[in-house]
């Protein structure tokens, strides 16, 4: 068996004729934080969606704690229950209050009693300064608050891996900061994460490793201080240059 928590081997995925991911291999060990960067359309979201089985892979394998989750006959619901996912749009359930959103999966999927789930949820909300929002409906929350609740909704299930896909790109700068602060705390807790982001400052801060995707292939991998400072390929150099010009680096 492998020592890594999540291992992706030669992943390949296309939509119709368009090859979106090609020969993607990586391994994520426990407590590691990997940040995926790359231009829009480079395949970051597709990669994350393959990991939580919201997309079917064409070829290659994905192993979660040694188990091949892409093999035929795997129960996708059970796999997803072990993986936390948060996407760009917050996607809180608008008909449920904040706390109802958070305890839905623990109660329905993980067999936690409602009382116990509430206790855990309140603890999380307390810790991240959202306790006064517990009984509110999501549409009354700011974007930053909604996104933090969405992350907590995933975290409460104690996922083996947390996948975050551009969770701050719909927010303005001040709200971004509060979401990033939460993610940093999760890292301090030892959460294993794979994060797609356009926030390079944040990437530098939390990433153990940065992975640059270019047209569906891993183009460069390494420590953030290396990859983000001295690109080895002109693809990455171009990408960083365009970010710098946009004032985002």
């Amino acid at each position: 068996m492998t020592s890594s928590l999540l291992e992706i081997k030669d992943l390949r995925k296309s939509y119709g004729d368009e090859l979106v991911l090609q020969d993607v291999s990586l391994s994520l060990s426990e407590h590691q934080v990997k940040v995926v960067i790359g231009a829009s359309g480079s395949g970051k979201s597709t990669l994350l969606r393959c990991v939580n089985l919201l997309e079917a892979v064409d070829d290659g394998q994905i192993l979660l704690a040694g188990e091949d989750i892409t093999s035929v006959g795997v129960n996708a619901d059970q796999v997803r229950a072990q993986i936390g996912s948060v996407f760009q749009a917050f996607n809180l359930f608008p008909h449920l209050t904040v706390i109802q959103n958070i305890i839905l999966a623990p109660v329905l999927v993980h067999g936690v009693s409602k009382e116990e789930a509430k206790v855990q949820a309140l603890k999380l909300l307390e810790r991240f300064d959202l306790i006064d929002k517990a009984g509110q409906y999501p549409d009354l929350l700011s974007g930053g608050q909604q996104q933090r609740v969405a992350i907590l909704r995933a975290v409460i299930n104690k996922p083996k891996v947390l996948l975050l896909d551009e969770v701050t790109s719909a927010l303005d700068p001040i709200l971004i900061a509060e979401v990033l602060a939460l993610i940093s705390e999760l890292k301090a807790d030892g959460m294993t994460m794979m994060i797609a982001t356009h926030e390079m400052g944040f990437a530098k801060q939390v990433a153990d490793e940065v992975l640059f995707l270019h047209q569906g292939q891993i183009c460069e991998v390494g420590r953030p201080e290396d990859v983000l400072v001295s690109p080895q390929t002109h693809h990455l150099a171009d990408f960083l240059g365009s970010l710098r010009r946009a004032g985002r680096l």
């Binding site: 619901d77 997803r80 229950a81 996407f87 996607n91 359930f93 008909h95 999966a105 999927v109 993980h110």
Partner: protein
């Protein structure tokens, strides 16, 4: 430091006040004018006296009222039973049509055929087919009471309408919601029941209530099968006196019966629109 409204604010408020007084005045004048015109046209019509005698006769209204009321009691029971079954069947059909399970493929096909058929077929024909056709089969265990078969016809027709409304609601729920639920590990059916359906039903409550209003008034059609409901009772009265006032009494009662539901629907629609404006969805 106390706040003192500025001169500018006082001017603004005065202007607003004047504008609102003016619109009230205009509304009043135009209502009175149109009302007067209507009265003039109707009462001035050459046959008005005859019409008034045969449609608005107080004496006949009074003698018909108890019979019509006892007929209405039947309508009420039919409406109530039909509404319950229509909501249940409509929901089940909508769920069948929107499910993706391959196991349910034949059910899906059947449900689609059912809704197409009964949305297209006039209710009156359904009433004839069910009300006269089924007793004709002479199957002993099927009741052949006009009330039961009339109610069944209403249920058959309105389940198709309601199923379509609920299906539209299910399909209007953002697919990202389903994704988010599945990503949390919820199964297909948990996602449907706990995430999609509650949102869908909220979205379609106003059109759903509209269908129920329509069902309430169509409950009067079971009279064609001979069930003695409010309309049939009015018909019996009319046949004795050759005066149409009893029909008007029945009509008035039906309107009274549906007003609470229509008002409630309007109120709910307005409330939802406001909420949507606040959420910036528009």
């Amino acid at each position: 430091m106390s706040y003192r409204p500025s001169e500018l604010r006082r001017q603004r408020e005065a202007a607003r006040h004047q504008a609102s007084r003016r619109s009230t005045l205009i509304a009043t004048v135009s209502t009175v004018a149109i009302g007067a015109l209507l009265v003039f046209v109707v009462t001035g019509a050459p046959g008005f006296d005859r019409v008034r005698e045969s449609f608005f006769n107080f004496h006949y209204a009074k003698t018909a009222l108890p019979h019509v009321l006892s007929g209405l009691w039947l309508n009420l029971r039919v409406m109530f039973i039909a509404e319950i079954f229509v909501l249940i069947f409509g929901l089940l059909i909508a769920l069948a049509r929107t499910s993706r399970s391959p196991l349910l493929y034949p059910v899906r096909l059947l449900a689609a055929a059912y809704t197409d058929f009964f949305r297209g077929l006039p209710l009156l024909l359904v009433l004839f087919l069910v009300g006269f056709g089924i007793p004709g089969l002479q199957i002993s265990w099927i009741p052949n009471s006009a009330v039961v078969l009339g109610t069944v016809s209403l249920i058959l027709t309105y389940s198709a309408y309601v199923a379509e409304v609920i299906r539209a609601g299910i399909e209007a729920v953002n697919p990202a919601q389903r994704m988010a639920a599945r990503a949390l590990g919820l199964t297909q059916s948990q996602t449907q029941r706990r995430v999609v359906l509650p949102q869908a039903l909220r979205k379609v409550t106003p059109p759903l209530l509209n269908d129920l209003v329509s069902l309430q008034k169509d409950s009067g059609l079971i009279s064609v099968l001979g069930a003695i409901d409010a309309i049939r009772a009015a018909g019996i009265e009319t046949a004795q006196s050759f005066n149409f006032t009893p029909y008007l009494v029945a009509g008035g009662l039906f309107v009274l019966l549906t007003i609470p539901l229509t008002r409630f629907t309007d109120w709910l629609t307005r409330k939802q629109d406001r909420a949507r404006v606040q959420q910036g969805q528009w």
